[in-house]
Amino acid sequence: MMTTLSPTSRAATRGWSDITIRNLFVIPTVAFLIIFNVFPLLYSLGFSFTDFRASSKDAANFVGLQNYADILADPVIWRSFATTLWYVIVSVSGQFVVGFGLALLLNRPIPGKGLLTTLLLLPMMLSPVVVGLFWKLIYDPSWGILNYALGLGKTAWLTDANLALYAVAITDIWMWSPFVMLLSLAGLSAVPKHLYEAASIDRASKLYTFFRVTLPLVAPILLIAVIFRTMEAFKTFDIAFVMTGQPQAELISSRLYKMAFAQWQTGPASALAYIVLIMVLCITNIYVKYLNKAKER
């Protein structure tokens, strides 16, 4: 139902024009964004071209693109980038498979569906730090339940250089698959039933129907879920920070945190933050292009 503002409405009688009301809502928000988002963003961009250290009283010296060059030549940072990229691939694809699979299972009449859906959503309602600490106990090689349940002996999930990253990714998949499931369910429930009926009349197989009817129609919303999760996975810090200190599993956010707040290399840390920002924007743009194509189809 559409509501229209009558000339005798309270605002009109007080003499507030539509523009005034609009400004009342918009100006505080824009001011907030400028003060707390845009200004720090530009300020840190300035820092990224200096040797500024927040822990020092020395004035910042302009160093041009030196910070960017140093970062791009640093093998430790490249290792963190490679680790992060692999983590994003493993984590997001895992969440996609598990989340979409759960959505397909729940997109049919089953008893207790509401309760089951609610229970499945619980992990993403928890704090990432709490989740990390729980899983740290689960992974414990001496008395963790995972090794016991799977009969894996004393597997050191979080300290083994080859396993630590996957252990963190599994935790992330457990936590965020419900998010993908939720969006997928919304997409699946929006697929018109008559398309399935038409496919059935045409004697299309279930696999054919899935690939030709379900997937194309759900693709845009799935891509949105993937965009969100990719951006979040790229920025993962809390879970990994709490769970493991293994340098081979160090994500770029952890490296950034160390540079910015443990070592107080404010200038180089700002440069690294901008490199990460540009990378995330590039990846997101690729997804958005696919999203637009999927919408057009």
Binding site: A54, S55, S56, K57, V76, D140, P141, S142, K154, T155, A156, W157, L158, T159, D160, A161, F241, T244, G245, Q246, P247, Q248, K258, F261, A262, Q263, W264, Q265
Partner: protein, 517 residues
């Protein structure tokens, strides 16, 4: 004043906000005058008028405040307004003045969240009782401690008057202008002779050997060892050990023996392991453990005064020490690649390990049966010397520094004067704090007070520390990664790991502007 107010209020004190306005003399004047005129209890609303039933055009009749103040612009009205304004300003000034004087009677100390901070709060309660100055110990969890402190320093904030900062912060704290120079204070109170020499050198002096001091040693600490006395004294174990190694099982006389003992007790099939050592990467854990072995094997982390690393960090002695540290790691519980003080104490409490490396500050909980079922079986010893007699231990602990941005510097200096008194240091030790006062450390009373105090006393005279440059955090991060890569991940040899780390540190020191090698 309260009595006068109560008198003016004549038994009806009005609402809280009204009472607060009565603090302003002009308001009191109006209230009392109106009260006399109306012969009514002087609620503020009544002072300005009276409530009456009024019917506004187009609205229902209702109660409204009908003012009976003089007309705006009249001579009486202007006088009252002037008096009221003056009075309000005077009252405001009085409130501000009194609030400032209250603030001056408070001191805030920033420290990490751990037991010694609680002991300090108990200690400073006595100072409050003596002087009336409230001292609050504000704590931050260890992982955020450095970040929190330096964020406040960088903002030049005055939230903290004193900070109990890590020894490695000295460079950043002093050169960054965050700490007040306490050299005169140290000289006046003769702290270089009354405190254990190593504590003044590492907790207070920067640059090394400069004679400039930035803190007062507060919580002395260093790496020591806890062990299972019942396992060590078991006749069967003793016989088996002697048969295997050719000497008696007991508190190790050197680090080679310590490695032997760890190997002997390492029995994964029985869920029993040799030793729990520091391995964690975030923070400084693995460096503290590794440097203890490097120092004691005759190696070094570098020449701190001349910024030299090559040939010192990657000497044969350093490599030998690091190799044996790795051996100890392999005799630890499974997945022991992310361990610091909490994990070590947990492994001991769970009866998993024969020995555990830890800072002395974490030993009290091992004697508490509520937190350690093995409490009755615990023994403690100082880090033993290396194979060639070099006898060192990694330094922990902190000194207390005066923050440059404090607005209560005089009061904070008075507090420090109280803190360094012998009786205060004694009380500090009794509460559980690790004093650095040499006379107390040397006393029998202190050494016999707990099973680990004697080991602590022995250790505090042989401590060595990490680099304390303003760029220490970068060197530490590189050290953590380098040590971990060899000790836990098992990449390359100890010599290769140290060669690589030495080259990295040389580059970092050059980049920071120190004289190149």
């Amino acid at each position: 004043m309260r009595r006068a107010l109560r008198g003016a209020a004549a038994g009806d004190r009005g609402r809280p906000w009204e009472r607060s306005l009565l603090l302003v003399p002009a308001m009191r004047d109006i209230v009392s005058r109106t009260s006399r005129e109306n012969d009514r209890p002087p609620k503020l609303g009544r002072a300005f008028g009276r409530f009456a039933a009024v019917k506004a055009p187009g609205k229902e009749e209702g109660l409204r405040l009908v003012p009976h103040l003089p007309a705006v612009g009249s001579a009486r009205g202007r006088t009252i307004m002037r008096t009221a304004t003056k009075g309000m300003l005077a009252g405001l000034g009085l409130m501000l003045a009194s609030s400032t004087s209250v603030l001056a009677q408070e001191l805030t100390i920033l420290w990490a969240e751990w037991d010694p901070a609680n002991y300090l709060q108990e200690l400073v309660n006595a100072y409050q009782a003596e002087t009336g100055v409230t001292v609050t110990v504000e704590t931050v969890p260890w992982p955020d401690f450095q970040t929190k402190a330096f964020t406040e320093f960088n903002a030049q904030g005055s939230a903290y008057d004193l900070v109990v900062g890590d020894s490695q912060w000295l460079g950043a704290g002093s050169t960054g202008g965050h700490y007040v120079d306490l050299t005169e204070f140290v000289k006046t109170h003769n702290l270089t002779t009354t405190m254990a020499p190593a504590t003044m050198q590492f907790y207070s002096e920067y640059p090394g050997g400069s004679g400039t001091y930035w803190s007062v040693p507060l919580e002395g600490d260093a790496v020591g060892w806890a062990y299972r006395k019942d396992w060590f004294e078991d006749p069967t174990e003793m016989a088996n050990f002697k048969a295997k190694y050719g000497y008696d099982l007991g508190v190790p006389k050197d680090l080679k023996q310590l490695v032997d003992i760890a190997e002997f007790f390492h029995r994964p099939a029985e869920n029993r392991y040799g030793a729990a050592v520091y391995t964690q990467v975030p923070g400084d854990a693995i460096t503290m453990g590794a440097e203890t072995f490097i120092f004691s094997y005759g190696g070094s982390l570098g020449d701190y005064a001349n910024y030299k690393v090559t040939g010192l960090l990657n000497s044969k002695e350093s490599a030998e020490g690091l190799e044996d540290y790795k051996k100890l790691y392999t005799y630890g519980p499974p997945g022991w690649g992310n361990a610091f003080f909490a994990e070590v104490n947990t492994a001991i409490a769970q009866g998993q390990v024969a020995m555990g490396m830890n800072f002395f500050a974490f030993f009290p909980s091992l004697l508490n049966e509520a937190t350690n079922p093995q409490a009755k079986n615990m023994g403690f010893f100082a880090n033993p010397p290396g194979p060639r007699g070099d006898d060192f231990a990694a330094l922990g602990g902190q000194g207390i520094s005066l923050v440059s941005y404090s607005q209560n510097k005089d009061e904070a200096m008075k507090f420090l004067e109280w803190l360094v008194k012998d009786e205060t240091q004694k009380k500090w030790a009794e509460l559980g704090g690790y004093t650095a006062a040499a006379a107390i450390l040397e006393s029998d009373e202190f050494q016999n007070a707990t099973p680990y105090n004697k080991a602590f006393f022995e250790t505090m005279f042989k401590v060595r520390d990490f680099w304390a440059l303003p760029e220490y955090a970068e060197l530490l991060d590189e050290g953590q990664q380098g040590f971990y890569d060899y000790v836990v991940n098992g990449n390359g040899t100890a010599q290769e790991a140290l060669d690589k780390l030495a080259a990295t540190w040389v580059e970092s020191l050059k980049a920071a502007g120190y004289p190149a090698e």
